[in-house]
Symmetry: C2
Subunit: 334 residues, 2 copies
């Protein structure tokens, strides 16, 4: 049995999408049990609308909530009875294998590190995101959990990312690249140059060298490593620029009668293309290298994203990703 | 009289666009003289097609060329008679105020630093680019000239960028922001956190705090500072992602008969929108903080971009940008 916590507080769409997703996740995965943390009365009320196996969902009542604008570390330390911290504690104690939350990213990152804790041998725990590309999605890590890091940490990110993409996303022998300002070996800042030399000799990963930011949208690598500052810039620029371009184009489509008619005619083809860039069926963003799995889903996630994240957790546990990560770092000095 | 060098070698479109742009630039600006460096016979042949004031164009024959794939520093040191180094030397010697080149970015950066040299008080010379946004373009610096820098260098970038945007682009009291992973003051890596504190107290610039990458495409700042690694990632991801999205949409438009008809109807409105994102009429990318001005134009520039870059150089010199930069750094210890 795989035990997964769903934090029902903190998402833009409230507990209802979590509950709906939980019931569907239960239906799709015969081997899971779910813990729903949050307001018991509310969750019970929502669950009453569905038919499900009552032995496989457990509600855990929590008296506190962590808001999106609270200082993360303080919130995690002080609000022991929040839906997030209660859930993370279940993972820490081994009562659950994974937790899914749509709450504050900062609190999830802080809670992952301070409550769940790093797995043996892991130096830093990166937040990973799947970036949509013209081909298959690429896994980018770290997206913001660790901003000032050493080269060996970047190397660990490469190893963890490679294991994740192979085990959870089914990419064979994933191509691993480091985000850089040029392709030549002498390019980069000190961090990247040193990491490059270690990665080049590293066994067990398929290191393909540097990737320039302009090549990222074309899917030239399966795993892209960067420090948390650069990774955060990439993920947020990706999001902001795509949205801005589509918004401006929409404005163009609505600017005249002629263009409005044109927009109706291209709608179907465009929708199909844009769907390609939607990676939400691949689950949420995993915080890797912890003693369990912590998955951050988008604040505006719907039940569909909750279901994907449940499958992601199942795949993560079934494929023993954490065991593989820890095994790879057996010789690491703490 | 403002003296400007145009390096006619290294662009994808050859010397002809440089010559055409030069003649048009001469027509638009009564107070300039141009030096065209390159192959004399070729330039003379191209010039023969135009009517122009022969006293205001001087051809300087060069026996060498710097290729796009040559190691930049080596090329600049060894090829003293290349069109780029000859031009840069004219700037160094004060015979020219500025140089425009479509050649190798690496060679232009190296040549700017080693041949022209830094202006007094300038710690590092950043490459600046205008980023198209949903509003007016934002100046991003550094786009890749200096990857490992100290906080004081980032502060100088902010000051130079602010002077440039005000003087050359006519933006009053430009809003200066630092690229960061969050808006709160405690966010960022060590470099950005320290620079933030200095910038907050700095007089003479309108520092508005941090900007997250997702806000960059919306034009939330006029000047954005970053180290050369982060800046390079931003500019290249901007380029790559925009191109990829437009390419995919084009593919969608051509995917069915219906969508093809639709595409014809929206073409005009879309073109108008896309023009907004074309900053080529604002000139090329200036390398700031040198004893003269070095402008890198895109490798695929046409005569129009050459004309814009000439106007940019004129504006730069007339508004005494370098004098203002040097004056601001009078107290800097070398």
């Amino acid at each position: 049995m795989i035990n997964i916590v769903i934090d029902t507080i903190g998402g833009d769409n409230g507990a209802s999408v979590c509950v709906k997703g939980a019931v569907e996740g239960l239906r799709q995965n015969g081997n899971i049990k779910l813990f729903l943390t949050g307001h018991k009365d509310e969750i019970e009320g929502l669950l009453a609308e569905y038919e499900y196996d009552k032995n496989r969902i457990e509600i855990i009542d929590c008296s506190e909530e962590i808001g999106l604008n609270e200082p993360p570390v303080k919130a995690v330390r002080e609000k022991k009875d929040s839906s997030l911290v209660v859930g993370l504690t279940l993972v820490k104690e081994g009562k659950a294998d994974a937790i899914i939350s749509a709450g504050s990213t900062g609190a999830i990152l802080a809670g992952g590190q301070f409550v769940v804790g790093r797995a043996k041998g892991v130096k830093r725990t990166p937040l990973a995101h799947l970036l949509p590309t013209a081909q298959e999605p690429s896994l980018l890590l770290d997206c913001g959990a660790n901003v000032d890091i050493k080269p060996e940490v970047l190397v660990q990110f490469a190893e963890m990312g490679s294991i994740y993409m192979e085990s959870v996303c089914g990419v064979k022998n994933p191509r691993v690249a480091v985000a850089n300002v040029g392709l030549e070996e002498e390019k980069g800042n000190q961090l990247v140059k040193t990491a490059y030399h270690i990665l080049k000799k590293k066994e067990g990963i398929n290191f393909v060298g540097s990737i320039e930011a302009r090549a990222i949208p074309y899917g030239k690598a399966d795993v892209i490593v960067a420090d948390g500052f650069v990774g955060n810039v990439i993920i947020k620029l990706y999001e902001g620029l795509s949205k801005m371009i589509l918004k401006e184009l929409k404005g163009a489509f609505l600017s005249s009668f002629q263009s409005k008619v044109g927009a109706i005619l291209i709608k179907k083809s465009m929708k199909k293309t844009l769907q390609k860039f939607d990676a939400s069926d691949k689950g949420g963003a995993p915080l890797l290298g912890l003693k369990g799995l912590v998955v951050k889903i988008h604040g505006n996630s719907k039940d569909r994203e909750v279901v994907s994240a449940i499958s992601q957790c199942v795949s993560f546990v079934e494929n023993k990703v954490n065991e593989r990560i820890v095994k790879g770092f057996e010789d690491v000095e703490e």
